[in-house]
Symmetry: C2
Subunit: 180 residues, 2 copies
Amino acid sequence: MDAPLKGKSIAFLATHGVEQIELTRPWQEFMDAGADLQLISLNAGRIDAYHHLDKGDTFEVDKPVGDARAEDYSALVLPGGVANPDALRMDSAAVAFIKSFFSQGKPVAAICHAPWSVIETGEVRGRTLTSYPSLKTDISNAGGYWVDEQVHHDGGLITSRRPADLDAFCARVIEVVCAD
Amino acid sequence: MDAPLKGKSIAFLATHGVEQIELTRPWQEFMDAGADLQLISLNAGRIDAYHHLDKGDTFEVDKPVGDARAEDYSALVLPGGVANPDALRMDSAAVAFIKSFFSQGKPVAAICHAPWSVIETGEVRGRTLTSYPSLKTDISNAGGYWVDEQVHHDGGLITSRRPADLDAFCARVIEVVCAD
C-alpha cells in the first residue's frame, strides 16, 4: 500500500517551544503516507521550534485553534517540547479541541511532554500511557497508569517518550488511523 | 536593620533553563540583606539561564547537589523556568535535597514552574500554594490547594507565580528566614 493514509486528514496542534523533530518527522511520514495535514496553533502566524533548548526553525500555522473543529480531522498529533504543552494547556480552546477528539472517538497521539495537555482534558484518568519521564508523577496523580515503553496505545491515546521513539510512534499512528 | 539575613546561608537549586531574573533578583536582594549564598546544581560547571525562550547568561555552580546537605543552609530557593524544574525533578539527589529542607523544618521558596520539583517530594499534599498557572492542575492532582496570589506562605513553603511577583516573593522570604 503506497498511501495508507490517503483520504485521512490529520491535525498537528503545537505552539512556540515545540520540539522540532517531533513536529517534522511525523509530518513527513504522514505526508508520505498520503494524509492531508494541518498545523493548528494558538494564533495565526508562525511558531518557533526548538532542538531541546536551542532555537530551530519557524513553521507557518494553517489555522488558529479557535477556528478548528475535530469533525474535520481523522486524528490529532501532539508533538512535545517542554514549553509547548505548558502553553497549550492554559488555553481553553486548545484543551477543548483536544478533548473533542476523545469525545468523537478519534485517535490522539502525544509524544514526550505533550501528555501535559492531555492531563488538562481529564482524559488521562484510567488510561495507560507513557511520556517523557519527568511527567510520570503528574500522569499518575491525574489517574493515569504510566509505563516505560517506546509506544503505548490505550483507549485511542497513542503515546511515546522522546524523539528516539519516533519510528515506533509514527508506525503505530499510521496503523491506528488506517484501522479507524 | 541593614543586614537582616546576616549569619544566614541560603541555597539556590537550579539547572539549565532557569529563568534568569528568578535567579538573579532574589540572589541580589538576599546578598544585599547579608546572607551567604550558594548556587547548587545537578553537576559542577556552569548553567545556562533563559529569558523565557531566549538564551541569557551562564552562571557558575558552587556545588553539585550530590555534595550538598540541607544541614548547611537556613533556607532553599527554587527559581523557575519551564525546563529547569522539569530536569531537577528527575534527579533523585535533587529531590532528596529539597525534601530534606521540609524534614528539617527549613523554609523552601519556589516561584513560577519550580513547584513541579516540590510535587516530586510529596510535600505539596495538604499545603496551599501558588505557581505559574500552567501548574494549577498538577498541583491540585498532587493534593495541594492552588491559589492565585502574588505570594503565599504555608507550612514553610513560600510560593509566587511569575517574575512580576518577585518584589513580594523576596520580601516574604526575607521575613520568613529572619523569623526562623
